[in-house]
Every structure is written in C-alpha cells, then in structure tokens.
C-alpha cells in the first residue's frame, strides 16, 4: 500500500506558494517537533526569543480504500501554526489554494472537508488553524 503521509508531504513540499510561507516545516504527526517554536518564546538553551515561522503538521484521521483497492481516500487532519492567528490563517488559505482541487501524478484530487477553525494549544497557547481534507491517492 502506498505511503499516504509521504505522498502528501511530497506534494505539499513541491508547492512553491506554500513553501514560500513554511519553508520545509511540514511534518507528519499531531504536534510539531519539540524544538519548534512559532512565537517569540524563549529558547531555554540560548536564552533568546525564537520565531521558527509558520508550520504545518498533518496526519491521517480516517478514510479507506475503493472497491478495487486502486484508490486510497484518506481523511487528513491538518494543524497550521503561526506566530499569530492571522499568520496561521494566511498559511491555511494558501494550503487550501494548493490542496483543494490539487493533483499530480499520484494525487487524484484533494477536497476541503472542514473549513479551518482557530484554536489554541492548551499547554502553550499557540494559535493554530485546524482543518481537514479528503485526499484521493492512486494506490500504485
């Protein structure tokens, strides 16, 4: 079976309008790596504020295969972090532009499943936008 996370990651990293915002800070998972800080939070080792810029984390939250196992249709959850809520929203809208209706030789189609919702991480108070897409992938 095709690696869904790798396929989506490669697709997103090939979208220059998106990487112009997040560089290569696109990770698989529920949260960004522990070293990541989207705000001016102090780096405990360097004792200076850090702003790593906006980032995207995503993971499959459900979905399935078609009748012939030829097409994967995962439902994928995305969390878009930014220094501010507005900053995260800008990146969210770029993600929508590239993934909703997006396609390449492996992705048949991306479709926005859930409009973005502004939320805050309970532990860090980081703002992020949560959204979800249905992504149809050729299972080859």
């Amino acid at each position: 079976m095709k690696d869904v996370h790798k396929t989506i990651s490669e697709f997103l990293l090939a979208q220059t309008t998106l990487t112009a915002k997040v560089d290569n800070r696109i990770w698989v998972g529920s949260e960004p790596p522990s070293s990541y800080k989207p705000t001016g939070a102090t780096d405990r080792k360097a004792y200076k504020p850090r702003d790593d810029g906006p980032a995207i984390v995503f993971k499959v939250r459900g979905g399935g295969l078609d009748y012939e196992d030829a097409v994967l249709s995962p439902s994928v959850q995305f969390k878009i972090y930014g220094r501010t809520a507005i900053n995260a929203d800008v990146v969210y809208r770029v993600l929508c532009d590239v993934l909703h209706g997006g396609h390449d030789d492996e992705i048949l189609n991306g479709e926005l499943e859930m409009l973005g919702q502004l939320l805050y991480e309970p532990d860090t108070d980081w703002p992020y936008i949560m959204t979800a897409f249905r992504v149809m992938i050729r299972n080859s």
Partner: protein, 205 residues
C-alpha cells in the same frame, strides 16, 4: 484493454462549452487543458451540480420458438443527454437553457437609467440547435495535465426542472439545464451523437 492501470482512473469536474451548430472542434494538441477553445466556442459559467452524461439505448430482440432466450438483439433507438444546473441566474443563461426563444436586450446605465437586461419565454416553437462540449482533466503518469473532451455535435437545450426561489432553504437559485443530442448525419455512423477525446500524453517533440 490490458493490465489494470491506476493512471487511467480519473477524478475530475467538467466545464461546459457551447457554440453555433457546425463549429469546428478545438485542436487536441494546440488547445491545452483549461485553455480557450477558440473559434465561436463560449465557456458556460458556474454550475452548482455535477455535469452528468447519459446514453440511452432502446433495443429490440429476435426470439424464435425453438430457443428460450433471444437469438439476436439490435438497437432501434438511441439518445444522449447532458444535465447540470447553471449557478448564475442571468438572462443569457436562461435563454441558453431554453434553446434561445428570445433575444437578450441589454440597456446600459445612463442618466436616470439603471442598467438592466430583459428577455422572455413563450410562443417560440423552434429550438435553436447548437454544438455542445465539455472538458475534464486527465493527469498522465508523468503528472501532465491533459484534457478529456466530449463533443455533442448538435443538440438542443431545455429548462429541466424548477427554478427555486426560497429565502428559507440553504440553497441558492439555479437553472436546471438538459441538453439532448440530435443525430448529425454529416458524421460517420457510430459517431453521430457524441465524440469523446482523451489526450493521453505530451507530443513527442
């Protein structure tokens, strides 16, 4: 037909085009996916429901006393319809769906004059025949975007249901349109209703 290929699995919407009957088809090589079809082809605007194509075939069967099942079957009637719902409520699209019964008169803005458009329905028996087509997307194994085009050489349109004006539903007004193909006797047998083209890759040089 050969080994199953996931590349041939297609997921796409479709854009409707219309032209006067007899219009030349867009060139498969020079007119890229999403490009203007040129000539007198005009792109139809937003639609609010998927475009659906249906081929109907009525068949007659030859039965003989000595056999339980039919021994021969042949087609004695056929038809093709395209259906969608136009999302833009304008006089032009109302006329398009009604097979152009009336002209659309447009009055420009002026002093003490608001711009407006005006058109009518009723009392016209002749249906205007037009050429129709739609285009979807095929992505080949190299990731190239290529067109899938379906042409109805000649057909007429009809308003295919109710235009619903409601403040209380969560939907908006649309114009249901059905296009019914006519047999184009200038085409070869087997192609008189519809021609489908799928561009499968790039030119070799």
């Amino acid at each position: 037909m050969a080994t199953p290929s996931v590349t041939s699995i297609v997921k796409t919407g479709a854009v409707l085009w219309v032209a006067p009957s007899g219009e030349s088809k867009p060139d498969e090589t020079s007119v890229a996916y999403g490009g203007d079809w040129g000539g007198n082809w005009e792109r139809v605007g937003y639609t609010k429901e998927p475009l659906k194509m249906k081929y109907d075939s009525e068949e007659a069967e030859v039965e003989v006393e000595e056999e339980l099942a039919a021994v021969k079957r042949y087609r004695n009637k056929e038809g093709v319809t395209l259906e969608t719902v136009l999302a833009e409520l304008t006089a032009e699209y109302l006329q398009l769906a009604a097979s152009n019964q009336d002209t659309v008169d447009e009055t420009a803005a002026g002093g003490s004059q608001k711009p407006y458009e005006e058109t009518g329905l009723g009392g016209e028996a002749i249906l205007t025949e037009k050429a129709w087509g739609f285009e979807g997307l095929y992505v080949d194994s190299s990731g190239n975007e290529e067109p899938i085009r379906v042409f109805v050489h000649k057909g007429t349109a009809m308003i295919n249901g109710e235009l619903e004006f409601s403040q209380k539903t969560d939907d908006y007004v649309g114009i249901p349109i059905q296009i019914k193909a006519l047999s184009d006797t200038t085409q070869s047998a087997g192609q008189r209703l519809v021609l489908m083209q799928r561009v499968t890759g790039e030119a070799s040089s």
